[in-house]
Amino acid sequence: MIKTDTQCVPTVAISTAVFCGGYRRTIEPRTKLLILLIVNTTSFVQNNVLCEMLCIVLITVAMLYHLSYRLVLKNLLIFGAMALLILLTLRVENTIIGMLSVVLIMARKIFPTFMFAALLMSSTQVGEMTSSLQAIHTPRQITIPIVIIMRFFPTIKEESKAILDAAKVRGIRFTFWSCLRAPNQMIEYIMVPLIMQLSVVAEELSAAAVTKGIDSDKQRTSLYQTRFGAMDLIFTLLFSANLIFALTGGGVW
């Protein structure tokens, strides 16, 4: 049973608390989108390690705030492994390994963006996102595709699992060697059934959408309510400070 009481909304940004089984700590989806943009810009303008480290630390703090411990562990491990590999490959004088380290450095540079995007996807509910965007009068033509995209990621995961099982039953193994020996065939074995399945889901889903009034020309409303709070401001300021630090090339201090 959902409660209609909105009195108990605490001062921190809280979007779905009353609807989603009690209090859930999160920052406002619009803030998340803004921070994503800031992180992205920071990654591209920064040219010192301290700034990059600060960025990773800030994202880690944001993840901890959202209680996403597994996400923290996973991302820090990947980042650590990447940094270690870069240190190792830079010490070897070999063209191919040199190229590898360039690729790794590029990957490390955009890593913070991916890390924050992972947090955004895992901590935002579809309803919150649309409600937040509708609050600034985003047209239906933008909010609905966002709903669909956010819904399709888990669908792809589910369908892929079923296809991998089916392939195993048919004796098709996706081992490291089979992928190396016949990569195009392996891709075909996954992609063809996946796309077939997804296109069926997509068509049936659109038919269902029509019967749920998706084509209506009325202004869309939302069950969820999202609002800004102190934490939104704090996080935005922290990330912005880091951006300024990056812009000045770390010369402020």
Binding site: V147, A162, K168, V169, I172, L205, V210
Partner: protein, 498 residues
């Protein structure tokens, strides 16, 4: 005239799809009164789905084609209905629970239609609350869509349509993917809708669960309504007549067991000893299972969803590893790694299992990987499954039944000894079910061991020789299908409750 007594009225309606091969509609004349429950039935592709699409406006708003005749919903001509307003009048529930939800959480899904139609937040909250009380679905709230069972998904689909407050409900084969328990759940929700005086139009193959709900039964064939009965008249239709029309049973207790009298002595087949499977350390899904499945019998595995049936099947065919215990085939131990291949799994949705670009290529793909080289002839296998005329076609151009046979053909080509089928008859009409029955009998005669997970009582009684009941991760019962055990088996299907 009293305020419109008919909910749906159609006069000389014809429809032809513009770019689909599906059957359209021919000369449909139909009046459905308010509060009436009308059941549409007939063989696959008879046009019953098309008729439901007219009522919910998907024809002509979504499926294009040539539409003629007069249709009025709630006294207003279909042409003057705006599609978004129509969705507040007619609620729709579809066959596939995988593809009718937009949101990832249930609460928001229930509110989704209202949000689209611009209903104010206070009103949405109230409507969602009312839906939860009316349909008694508080256990469904605030959950992840992917964590719901098939039955719960269909309840949610009904709930999300209900929130918009429609007077008319249109359901297109809602039970096609449901087990016996979930079907009974569906029936209780339908009963509630009927009590509230909603008009219901439902297209179905599975009829028995609607026996106390439907007021009128329409039989369709090739896009026409051929025959019409009241529920009382329909219960008197003889079995022969029903089978001739290709319809499923109306009353399960009338389905008679025809014991297979010429059963030979049981031969040794698959057996399991002390088998346990656990996904997490704490809660094993299957605990200490031991049973024997003879080679020359068709064994059915029944039980509620989530109680370990499919895990058992997955373990037998090498998709899920056991935590302890052993599996034997003909007395020899079958280690986990060898099982995949020797034991072949036919999935409920054969679309996943087809990887090649032609029917013949599909079988050759399996031959290449099977250990017996060239010993089996590809065309022989195809003609055994009556697929030889489609040899060059793309697998995706086949019908559902043909795809299923092709998936089986691949298993034979792989020289699998045991075939495990998951719900081979879900959503099939009587004749297609009979086809599966004949095929399994032939495979049994060829010496393949067959294990079927099923919720289809008619199919089970017709085809299978013995039953294993799995409950709470253990074997609850195990018996031969004969007249003595008939009552026990029927009880399982009709009275299964939470």
């Amino acid at each position: 005239m009293v305020k419109n007594q008919c909910a749906i009225k159609m006069k000389n309606v014809n429809f032809t799809y513009a770019n689909r091969t599906e059957e359209g509609l021919r000369d449909i004349n139909l009046t459905i009164r308010r509060g009436e429950c009308v059941l549409l039935t007939g063989a696959s592709g008879c046009g019953k789905t098309s008729l439901t699409r007219i009522v919910n406006g998907l024809i002509p708003h979504f499926y294009e084609g040539e539409l003629g005749g007069d249709i009025s919903i709630d006294g207003q001509s279909i042409t003057s209905w705006k599609i978004d307003e129509l969705s507040m009048k007619v609620g729709s529930v579809f066959q596939n629970p995988r593809s009718q939800f937009f949101n990832l959480d249930t609460t928001n899904e229930i509110a989704f239609g209202c949000e689209n139609l611009g209903i104010s937040r206070e009103q949405i909250v109230q409507r969602v609350n009312n839906t939860v009380t009316d349909l008694q679905i508080s256990q469904l709230m605030d959950r992840n869509i992917f964590s719901l069972s098939g039955g719960e998904k269909q309840m949610l689909a009904i709930a999300s349509a209900y929130t918009l407050g429609p007077d008319i409900f249109v359901l297109d084969e809602p039970s096609a993917n449901l087990d016996a328990f979930a079907t009974n759940q569906l029936r209780s929700v339908m009963e509630k809708l009927k009590e509230e005086g909603k008009t219901i139009l439902i297209a179905e193959h599975r009829l028995y669960y609607l026996a106390d709900i439907a007021d009128r039964i329409l039989y369709m064939d090739k896009g026409r309504i051929v025959q019409e009965w009241s529920a009382k008249e329909f219960s008197k239709v003889s079995k022969e007549q029903r089978i001739e029309m290709g319809l499923r049973a109306w009353d399960l207790s009338q389905v008679q067991i025809e014991p297979n009298l010429n059963l030979s002595i049981e031969e040794q087949g698959t057996s399991v000893q002390h088998l346990s499977v656990a996904y997490t350390k704490k809660a094993p899904v299957l605990e200490d299972i031991s049973c024997v499945m003879p080679r020359n019998r068709i064994t059915a595995i029944i039980g509620r969803n989530g109680h370990g049936k499919s895990t058992f099947a997955r373990c037998l065919c090498g998709l899920t590893k056991e935590s302890s215990g052993k599996v034997f085939y003909c007395g020899n131990e079958q280690p986990y790694k060898h099982r995949c291949g020797q034991n072949y799994f036919v999935m409920q949705d054969p679309n996943y299992q087809l990887f090649s670009d032609s029917v013949i290529g599909e079988v050759e793909l399996s031959l290449k990987r099977g250990k017996r080289e060239k010993a089996v002839n590809v065309l022989e296998i195809l003609s055994f499954l009556s697929l030889n005329e489609f040899a060059e076609q793309h697998p995706m151009s086949l019908s559902g039944g043909q795809k299923q046979r092709l998936a089986i053909a691949a298993g034979i080509a792989q020289s699998a000894d045991v075939l495990i089928l998951d719900e081979p008859t879900s959503g099939l009409d009587y004749n297609n079910m009979l086809r599966v029955h004949t095929l399994l009998d032939q495979l049994k005669a060829e010496g393949k061991e067959i294990i079927v997970i099923t919720h289809d009582y008619e199919f089970l009684v017709n085809t299978c020789d013995c039953v294993i009941v799995i409950e709470d991760g253990a074997i609850a019962d195990c018996y031969t299908i004969n007249t003595e055990n008939e009552e026990k088996l029927l009880h399982f299907f009709v009275n299964i409750k939470n």
